[in-house]
């Protein structure tokens, strides 16, 4: 009798925990614990809050409620794969692995399972080639776009000529941190600057050697590819040696409030790349306040709204929702499958009119996705930190990266992957 009761309770619990089958299911491989929790929390909050907004304000997407399946990875690749395996059978439409390591592990799995992956601004850069990576998307920008946008910014502030300038790349000594090296080397040949590479081992709590070297060599510019504690320590060390902050520029994963606030007023002037807007001066935040915050339905404490990483999470969710709408239009059904979601992502078109109608005018670049191009046009902008106001300010428009250089690198890398894995053209 007891066993029967227990079994009934277990079944009820499992049923309650599983999404209703008619829901549109979005797994969130988040990390609210571990060394990178401080960055994982705002992204996860932004991602979840946007789906809550869509449910509360619009009654779901095309009338079907969105269901979020949050799974804690701790930014650990093994746990990320476990999360994927445990959620893929629940109707998951698209995965945001939120880690380059997890993305690399999931590419073959998700491809075999027919579930799309969206690694926005991270992951395997050459996945932008949709002809090889049919299920993987990394719009609107990838690491190599980022490297090129940083160099383009330096070109712009130097009147188009950076030959003879010295640029140091300080990077997280991992697969992620090494991503921009090839692009920066190719661009160095093209533009004639001298590139110095300075790796920092995980976690990056101690960087005295690297910054003493920068102080000795006095490079004209420092570009950073950091993550976690490496970022605030690097920015603090730059302040300590009185390196001109306006000559210090980080990738979008080195450009959140968490990275600059610990360094205090000295961090003013530090620049970071971005592929979406900063701050909370967008109409969508009024809706988030009304439908999510005021109703007590925020995913977290509600104290991250408008921060860089919250915005990024919200942007990722918004792009997922727009892809669902596109898929619903293409297939004429509201309750879509992962394969239909893939079609929606491949046909996604983000125009400024659409962004404005969503309450996000000029929040991100206008772009469209195609079968061949899963990475979008590779547009990005530059934001600059102002410690006094505690805000990031956009100091450039979304401008293009050097696709002549990057496309050749993408083609080369993806062709090697296709040959290695026997992948035939996906677009013919």
């Amino acid at each position: 009798m007891k066993l029967t009761k227990l079994a009934a309770i277990a079944v009820a619990a499992v049923t309650a925990a599983s999404p209703v089958l008619a829901d549109l299911v979005f797994p969130a491989l988040s990390y609210r614990t571990g060394p990178y929790a401080a960055n994982g929390i705002p992204f996860a909050d932004g991602y979840a809050d946007y789906f809550t907004l869509v449910n509360e304000r619009d009654g779901g997407i095309g009338g079907v409620p969105a269901q979020l399946l949050e799974c804690e990875t701790g930014y650990n690749t093994e746990k990320g794969v476990e999360c994927y395996e445990s959620t893929k059978g629940q109707g998951s439409l698209v995965y945001q692995p939120l880690s380059t390591g997890i993305t690399y592990q999931l590419i073959p799995k998700a491809t075999a399972d027919g579930i799309p992956i969206h690694s926005m601004g991270y992951g395997r850069t050459s996945a932008a080639n949709g002809d090889v990576f049919g299920n993987i998307f990394n719009y609107p920008a990838n690491y190599w776009n980022g490297a090129s946008i940083a160099i383009n910014h330096l070109l712009e502030i130097n009147g188009g000529d950076i030959s003879g300038k010295s640029i140091t790349l300080i990077y997280h000594n991992s697969a992620y941190g090494k991503e921009p090296i090839r692009t920066l080397e190719v661009l160095a040949e093209k533009h004639g600057y001298d590139l110095t590479l300075l790796p920092v081992d995980h976690p990056g709590q101690e960087q005295k050697s690297q910054w003493l070297q920068i102080r000795r060599e006095r490079p004209d510019y420092v570009v950073m590819w950091g993550w976690g504690v490496m970022n605030p320590v690097a920015i603090q060390e730059a302040v300590n040696i009185r390196y001109p902050m306006e000559n210090f520029i980080g990738v979008w994963w080195s450009g959140s409030e968490n990275d600059v606030i610990p360094a205090g007023p000295g961090a003013t002037g530090y620049k970071a790349l971005t592929f979406h807007g900063v701050g909370d001066d967008y109409p969508v935040y009024d809706d988030i306040q009304k439908y999510v915050v005021d109703t007590g339905k925020t995913a977290g404490a509600g104290d991250q709204i408008g921060t860089v990483l919250y915005n990024r999470g919200m942007y990722a969710a918004m792009l997922a929702v727009e892809a669902v709408k596109t898929a619903q239009e293409i297939h004429g059904v509201a309750d879509i499958t992962p394969a239909m979601m893939r079609d929606g992502m491949e046909a996604l078109e983000m125009t400024e009119e659409k962004m404005t109608s969503l309450g996000l005018p000029n929040f991100g670049p206008a772009f469209s996705v195609s079968c061949e191009n899963h990475g979008g046009p590779g547009l990005g902008g530059v934001a600059q930190w102002d410690a006094e106001s505690g805000k990031w300010n956009m100091i450039s428009d979304y401008s293009p990266s050097d696709m002549d250089v990057i496309q050749a690198l993408i083609d080369e890398d993806s062709a090697a992957y296709a040959a290695e894995n026997g992948i035939e053209s996906q677009c013919n």
């Binding site: 614990t33 571990g34 590479l197 790796p199 003493l212 504690v229 040696i241 009185r242 404490a301």
Partner: protein, 330 residues
């Protein structure tokens, strides 16, 4: 003399000071190992927890705010006051002493006479518990720690030495590192005096040698454990302040324990001066190696070279530079 010579000196001095920062962490390990033979895996997390507690008290943060808000639907975050730094440090120290009582009462008391490996495993469990507990109590966002210590290169020194050679920009020394060195010297001197010249200090050493024998002569093992864990909590607080001032208080602070391990291997697990000297050797060694060899082999040598250096010392002195030689009679 050439600029290269002065830059080498600069690297050595900065290595010494970085080494002192490592020593601050290593000291906590030494204190507990010396008094109980336990390698306290939780020492790094204790530094994180102590620093989180300090910032929380200083900024008037409501502990367990997220939990309270979730359960009761409230919106509590701050009390609305700020606590002066010195008082906040004393209160944080009080929390660490309370923590020592709790550890003794609920963990160590039940493990008297167990093998050291059992106690080590218990500290692993404690570390993971504290990671989660700290997040629950104070939140996992990065916190800014400001206790008024100056930070940044010392401008006076830089200007005074900048014309010593062509191409030399003057010596760079971080003010925070200099403060850390001064604090570490005072801390070590106090601990040595306490350990060697006070009744309680001698009792600590007696317990470390043989806790059964110490019990038989009337030394309270439980009191000693509370004292030693309190001291380790105090050292963790100092280390947390110094490292937290550099990077903000965040989870990665707990990983500085990884930098203390080669220091312990080199200096010995039972020597307070060994922690300082070991730290300085590791600091100078890794910085010099990175400076001289790093550029030729791709850099980022410091993490692994510290362990190579410690292993080299171990080959010749398995007990570490200052560790006690263990002679077991059969």
């Amino acid at each position: 003399m050439s600029a290269d010579f002065f830059y080498t000196v600069e690297v050595i001095i900065n290595g010494l000071m970085t080494g002192v920062m490592y020593s601050l962490v290593a000291l906590g390990f030494v204190l507990i190992f010396k008094a109980s033979g336990v390698f306290n895996y939780a020492q790094g997390v204790m530094a994180l927890f102590a620093a989180m507690t300090l910032v929380g008290i200083q900024t008037g943060q409501v502990p367990f705010a997220h939990l309270i808000n979730t359960i009761f639907g409230t919106h509590l975050h701050k009390f609305g006051w700020e606590v002066p730094t010195l008082l906040a440090i004393l209160l944080a120290l009080g929390v660490m002493i309370l923590f020592a009582f709790i550890v003794e009462r609920y963990i160590l008391k039940h493990l008297v006479n167990q093998d050291p490996i059992i106690l080590f495993m218990a500290t692993i469990g404690l570390a993971y518990f504290m990671e989660g507990f700290g997040d629950l109590m104070w939140g996992s966002e990065i916190k800014n720690l400001d206790v008024g210590l100056p930070q940044g290169g010392n401008i006076w020194l830089e200007n005074a030495t900048s014309d010593w050679a062509d191409g030399f920009y003057g010596f760079y020394l971080d003010n925070l590192d200099m403060w850390a060195t001064a604090i570490a010297v005072v801390l070590v001197a106090s601990l040595i005096v306490f350990s060697n010249y006070t009744k309680t200090g001698r009792a600590l050493r007696a317990v470390a040698d043989d806790n059964q024998a110490a019990l038989s002569v009337g030394i309270s093992l439980r009191t000693i454990w509370v004292i030693v864990w309190s001291l380790a909590g105090f050292v963790a607080l100092v280390a947390g302040i110094m490292w937290g001032a550099k990077s903000g208080v965040q989870f990665s602070l707990s990983l500085i324990a990884l930098k203390a391990l080669p220091v312990l291997m080199l200096g010995g697990f039972t020597s307070i001066p060994g922690a300082i000297v070991g730290g300085m050797i590791i600091g100078v060694g890794e910085k010099l190696f990175e400076f001289a060899v790093g550029p030729y082999i791709g850099g980022a040598t410091e993490n692994w070279f510290a362990y190579v250096l410690a292993l080299l010392f171990l080959v010749f002195r398995p007990q570490g530079l200052f560790g006690e030689k263990i002679i077991e009679r059969v």
